[in-house]
């Protein structure tokens, strides 16, 4: 068993599961989406992205690209949340929550691709 592979797979899968956890629930219901969960998703995604640095294979490049997409979408979601809470009048409303959650939905798609690629690689390179 390769410990590096375990850590690598752990973070990639965790990024997806946390992302899913944040995403599920009614799209515009503020009670269904927890800010701590979004924070955790961003941190885990950042770590997963950094773990993918330096792999020069074709698969590595695509994996890194999907992670970068996910981080970009999550950052956008976090910025929207911050702006809504601290800059705009009226605080969090259902329609604003909907845009935050849909951004994380996009990130989740990227994370799904990431995990699928990971599974494909594992299946193809049975060692």
């Amino acid at each position: 068993m390769n410990q590096e592979k375990v850590v690598f797979g752990f973070f990639i899968v965790l990024a997806l599961t946390l992302n899913f956890g944040f995403f599920v629930g009614e799209l515009d219901n503020t009670a269904h989406h927890n800010v701590y969960e979004l924070f955790a998703v961003i941190v885990v995604n950042l770590i997963a992205t950094i773990l993918k640095f330096g792999d020069r294979t074709q698969m590595g490049a695509v994996l890194l690209a999907t992670s970068l997409v996910a981080v970009l979408q999550l950052m956008a979601a976090a910025i929207v949340w911050g702006v809504v809470e601290h800059v705009m009048q009226g605080g969090m409303t259902p329609d604003r929550m909907a845009s935050v959650v849909s951004l994380t939905g996009g990130a989740m798609l990227a994370n799904v691709i990431s995990v699928v690629l990971l599974i494909i690689e594992t299946v193809l390179l049975r060692r």
Binding site: Y36, I47, L51, F53, G54, A78, G82, H86
Partner: protein, 551 residues
């Protein structure tokens, strides 16, 4: 690279999370929680030690306790990450890779024909500067480029991409643009014959159409290079020995060659007349051997002086000694000699030989070998009749081969002519120029270089050489230049006269004044000017004038 980033992200995450979770108490006693937004803001300025204070409200003691721990954690991880990043940037391998990338990019974006010069030693420097002077693009590869001289390269008007690498490796040659469609030639001038050989082989295999010029100073290497089709192989010693023989046989031809191949702004040289009596050759090395081989064919009496005759397999009758001593020179019969060759590979010895010999026989014809260009000042002071500087000879020869190939052809054709022919040409050229060597240039009758002439020829009108030599400012007097050679497919016409009819793709070599060159460019490219020369009248250039002239 991963570790510092991972540490940074983790510490930031812990710090932010802690701040969000730990409750604070405001002035009215209400409990408040920091939002993620404020927490990230606070951690960002805490970690970078900017420290704006406790925002958005004064902290509770529990928060302060957390912040104390986190200040050390974030600041340390931040400094560690920055340090790791900077040491990565300073890493030798990283910088090398970065430099290579930049160089490859520069080479890729060259749009003009360029020469790939391998080896930036004395010869390389001279050649590169001469090529830049003529507005040719150059790329330089060298194992250990002189730091000082590379900065000189950067000051040039044309940017010269240069890379520190082993030019013998094919990859580096490709990086330097060997396969670039604009590569006009590869020049191998490194100190090692082996590397030059490798460069020649790689170039010929990877891009067979690109001309390759190689320096070589041993006959085995020359034969080896020639065997796979290296275009030009130059041995500076053989080349000089040939010049010496030419000077001996026909001084005018030698002078003609010197004038035409001189660097721009160089002063005109005086003719020299090497004697055909007894010669003394000091030093039986590569240079001495080349000179002796050529002079023997001219049936000249030769005495060789060599310090180690056995080691170099010197001919019978060689006098053992240094040549720097008067007694050795007297033993060689310096009083009755007419010429001396100071040809050892030590500059100080060569100077000493010449000074001693001149004391014994002031009328000697002196051939002096200069090995290092830094000794230029003292060698000029000696005022030898012929100076043999290998780097200079190589650089000039390569420049002529690449930049004006017709001139090389012209000189080899000239070797078959009588000396009187060259003398006449010399007097014609000296009438054109004052102190500096004449400008030498090539013209091809094609759309790019001679648009006006080509379109006139295509209209089945006749353009002769004389038309190109018209001075348009002062009438009835030709331009101050001479057409030296016209090359048409496989035929060569030496000194074509004024009535010579031009055809498409003719390749012509001219020499003359700089002003003549500029005037000629006008004639070649400006249709109106050419019409005026051909018909003697100027055509109305615009529709309005044409309409008025019809009235």
């Amino acid at each position: 690279m991963r570790q510092p980033l991972l540490i940074l992200v983790s510490i930031y995450a812990v710090a932010v999370l802690g701040l969000v979770l730990i409750p604070g108490v405001d002035a009215d006693g209400h409990v408040w929680h920091m939002s993620f937004f404020h927490a990230i803001y606070f951690v960002s300025y805490m970690a970078t030690t900017i420290g704006f204070g406790e925002l958005p409200q004064a902290f509770s003691d529990a928060q302060r306790l957390w912040v104390i721990v986190m200040i050390y954690a974030t600041v340390v991880s931040w400094i560690y990450s920055i340090g790791a990043l900077i040491s990565l940037l300073q890493n030798h391998g990283f910088q090398q890779a970065w430099g290579e990338r930049r160089f490859a990019n520069q080479v890729r974006h060259i749009t003009e024909p360029f020469y790939l010069v391998c080896g930036y030693g004395e010869t390389g420097q001279m050649l590169v500067h001469a090529l830049l002077e003529d507005n040719h693009q150059v790329v330089v590869l060298d194992k250990t480029p002189d730091a000082v001289d590379l900065t000189i390269l950067e000051d040039q008007r044309l940017h010269v991409p240069s890379l520190k690498c082993d030019a013998g490796e094919p990859n580096n040659l490709i990086l330097g643009g060997l396969k670039h469609p604009r590569c006009a030639g590869v020049i191998a001038l490194t100190h090692s014959n082996d590397t030059n050989l490798q460069i020649a082989i790689s170039s010929k295999l990877l891009s067979p159409d690109v001309p390759v010029v190689c320096q070589a100073d041993s006959h085995e290497y020359e034969a080896n290079m020639a065997s796979f089709g290296t275009d030009f192989i130059i041995d500076p010693f053989d080349t000089f020995a040939t010049y010496l023989v030419v000077a001996l046989q026909s001084p005018c031809l030698f002078l003609l060659r010197q004038w035409l191949t001189g660097n721009r702004h160089q002063e005109l040289e005086e003719p020299i007349y090497p004697p055909s009596g007894k010669w003394i050759v000091c030093g039986y090395g590569r240079f001495g051997k080349a000179v002796i081989e050529k002079l023997k064919k001219e049936h000249i009496e030769l005495i060789v002086i060599e310090a180690t005759p056995q080691a170099v397999d010197a001919p019978q009758g060689t006098i053992k000694g240094w040549g720097t001593k008067a007694e050795t020179l007297l033993q060689a019969g310096i009083e009755s000699a007419q010429g001396i060759v100071a040809g050892t590979n030590n500059d100080a010895n060569n100077l000493s030989i010449v000074m001693t010999a001149r004391k014994l026989n002031p009328d000697l014809f002196v051939v002096l070998r200069q090995n290092r260009s830094t000794n230029k000042a003292i060698f000029e002071e000696i005022n030898a009749d012929m100076l043999m500087h290998p780097s200079h000879i190589l650089a000039t020869k390569v420049r002529v081969l690449l930049a004006t190939p017709l001139l090389n052809e012209f000189v080899s054709l000239g070797y078959h002519q009588e000396d009187a022919w060259a003398c006449e040409l010399i007097s014609r050229i000296s009438a054109l120029v004052q102190i500096e060597v004449p400008e030498v240039w090539e013209v091809r009758i094609n759309d790019q270089q001679a648009h006006a002439v080509l379109s006139t020829i295509k209209r089945a009108e006749i353009v002769t050489m004389g038309h190109l030599l018209h001075d348009t400012t002062k009438e009835k007097r030709p331009l101050w230049c001479i057409p030296l050679l016209l090359h048409r497919s496989n035929d060569q016409y030496l000194l074509p006269d004024d009535d010579f009819k031009l055809k498409q793709n003719d390749h012509i070599l001219f020499c003359g004044s700089r002003r003549a060159r500029l005037s000629m460019e006008w004639i070649l490219l400006n249709q109106h000017l050419l019409n005026y020369i051909l018909t003697g009248e100027s055509i109305r250039q615009s529709e309005v004038w044409r309409w008025l002239s019809l009235k």
